[in-house]
Chain length 405, copies 2
């Protein structure tokens, strides 16, 4: 249905330019990214549910209300969160500076920040950075932008897909950052998606929300929801396809590609989670409701005991069933089957709520892989959910306890 | 209002006998405790909210419905959880064997287990152990019982208080076990409380529930709720006080002593949490509702990012305010004050939701102590909550990832 573009990135779709530069928030690394669409783009965003919201989110939420933007400016190294009235003023200054250098109105700019909480943004450096960035915008700048939004991410996270919609080549691309900062305070997740697809007014938010609920909302590194989480999509229509709407024949194809792209980026974030050594997929099957399936899967995914057992490569299914038991999902303990799976094979651990005399050697081999699956079959209904998490390791403790050393 | 008894334990109140012996579930340690009251005692219990409940809980819940028991039998090393019909049969066999050797009806026995999930109980060994234990019951056996319920606990947890009620000396005692097992699967919390106070029929459950809500329900080691949690109280009335009821002049004194005792045991459990190096008290003040106060405090207490920061002795208040923000409690970010406190002093980190230029050296000294307090003042209402947690350390990961080595 779609092809993955080799070395594809956020500037792969028609009409998008980007760059990433160093403005001096970090000691010696890129810390400011600028993303620009040559024409006004349909846009939509989703934001953290944390009641403590960083200043840039307030600006971006307001600007996205009218559904059209043309630029995104992102700094790393400072979250501009818990910074009061000055923080909000600084976030607006970022929008205004970006608008000025790109000759836009400030309402056409989305602002995002990630980094330490509670310290004032060095706004002078950021303003100089925006000026510099505007001179460096290019259609080859996607890679630099993906690098500039990193904090303690160990690799940039980006992807681009192409597909055919009504005989037109449409490109869909995204970049994201995950957990960790130079001076970390928490795992902030940022995602930016571009496409040259044409989409009718107001429809993009619906498409985005649907994809997010299967991807970025289905991952966890440590259960801590950031003050700065944000995902934004821009669609500038330059591919020339018939604008997508609810009834389009092609909307399912685009929607599936968007879901694939967001799941890919979400999984990259988990793989690069602080201290992570394994990607773990939790599948809960046959729950009564979708909400129950997600509750049960998230409970397993956030259990420190499950996450340490995966790190220790121990087939400790008792911790899995216990996490399902306290998840709040409707269950019958005596119906639950539990399986472990990976490239090395599949083994059933528990049947009808009780332990099986499983093959310990095979379980060890399954758990030795880098990508592990845990399947919990509730056998109550017909609803499924998939959630991705990582293991809990010594390095997670190290990164979060000793980052100042 | 009350005195702490030196070397006090579960058999300090009049008429209670206990013992702890090794029956062979563990390789070479005590693993079976028996607690007996010479006369029938008023009794009440609280049980895990996990929907996956171990077999002994089903037996104990049923037997506690009539409100009177005379003995408690506890094994460590095997949780008898997820063990199906055979597990339930084994739990009843424990009650029956205990009833037989003590000449009681099986409905007068509470059964508890802690240890690995999903393995059949070696019931023959347990039956032999109960016979042996019954011959070893004594008024000096409280210490041995507290040792026999330990798993990877590093010290026994016990306390006894005496107070005067209506001119009669009343003794109140308790023992508990916390997080960690010889072959661990999760942190099971067990608590047993004895008193020679007289209490009217049915009133004990209310007293227990009130105390639990301020103590055992206010602690967290890793956020995982066990399948086996249980707290039981027995009151045999041998102190000869006027039976306590809702209107008793002395009920507040007894209730306060019970709260003190349960908080003491709960704190001991957190101090001895798996890998813990620090006891952390989270106080949330001036919430709109008690539920909001607890939600906010629990959210901070279970945040892996807060817990690793405490381990690293870093005054990372941004993680605290973020955890309050996603707790679900009603808050106004711009009103929140945050303080750090310990025996080394007190320092304000944040005021009205923004960071203060606090004294980093002083904060380091505060955080170097073994017992730390975090105070979050929401400045919205008048409700407070206190929750206790421990730090998240390398040893937590080690204990839970590598226990088979």
């Amino acid at each position: 249905m779609w092809q993955i573009l080799e070395k594809g990135n956020i500037t792969s779709p028609l009409g998008f330019q980007a760059t990433g530069i160093a403005c001096g928030i970090k000691k010696a690394a890129k810390d400011l990214a600028l993303l620009y669409s040559k024409t006004t783009a349909q846009a939509a965003g989703v934001f953290t549910t944390n009641q403590v919201k960083a200043a840039p989110l307030l600006v971006s939420q307001q600007n996205l209300e009218q559904g059209q933007i043309q630029a995104v400016v992102i700094n790393s190294g400072n979250a501009n969160a818990c910074t009061g009235a000055k923080g909000l003023e600084d976030a607006w200054t970022m929008a205004e500076e970006t608008a000025q250098v790109l000759n836009l109105s400030k309402e056409k700019v989305v602002v995002a920040s990630t980094g330490v909480i509670g310290f004032p943004l060095p706004i002078g450096k950021v303003q100089e950075g925006i000026k510099l960035a505007s001179k460096n915008l290019s259609e080859q700048g996607g890679q630099a932008a993906a690098e500039a939004i990193m904090t303690t991410d160990t690799f940039p996270k980006q992807i681009a897909l192409t597909m055919d919609l009504d005989g037109k080549k449409v490109t869909l691309a995204g970049m994201a950052k995950g957990s960790g900062m130079i001076h970390p305070n928490m795992a902030t997740m940022l995602g930016f998606i571009t496409t040259d697809a044409a989409v009718v007014d107001g429809f993009l938010a619906e498409l985005l929300k649907k994809a997010i609920n299967k991807s970025f909302n289905m991952i966890t590194v440590d259960g801590d929801t950031s003050t700065n989480d944000m995902v934004v999509i821009m669609a500038n229509g330059l591919a020339g396809n018939k604008p997508l709407n609810k009834e389009s024949a092609e909307v399912e194809k685009f929607s599936a590609a968007l879901e694939y792209l967001t799941i890919y980026l979400a999984q990259q974030i988990v793989k690069d989670g602080e201290g992570a050594s394994k990607l773990v997929e939790i599948q809960v099957k046959n729950a009564l409701t979708e909400s129950d399936a997600k509750k049960a899967a998230m409970s397993v995914a956030t259990s420190s005991l499950v996450k340490t057992a995966i790190f220790g490569q121990d087939a400790n299914w008792g911790r899995v069933i216990a996490a399902v038991g306290y998840s709040g999902a409707e269950i019958r303990a005596e119906k639950i089957d539990i399986f472990l799976t990976s490239a090395a094979g599949k083994e059933q651990m528990a049947q009808a709520g009780g332990g099986l005399a499983f093959d310990e050697e095979k379980a060890k081999k399954i758990l030795a892989e880098k990508e592990i699956g845990i399947i919990v079959d509730l056998q109550l209904g017909e609803q499924d959910a998939q959630v991705w998490t990582c293991d809990l390791t010594y390095d997670y403790v190290k990164i979060n306890a000793h980052y100042r050393s």
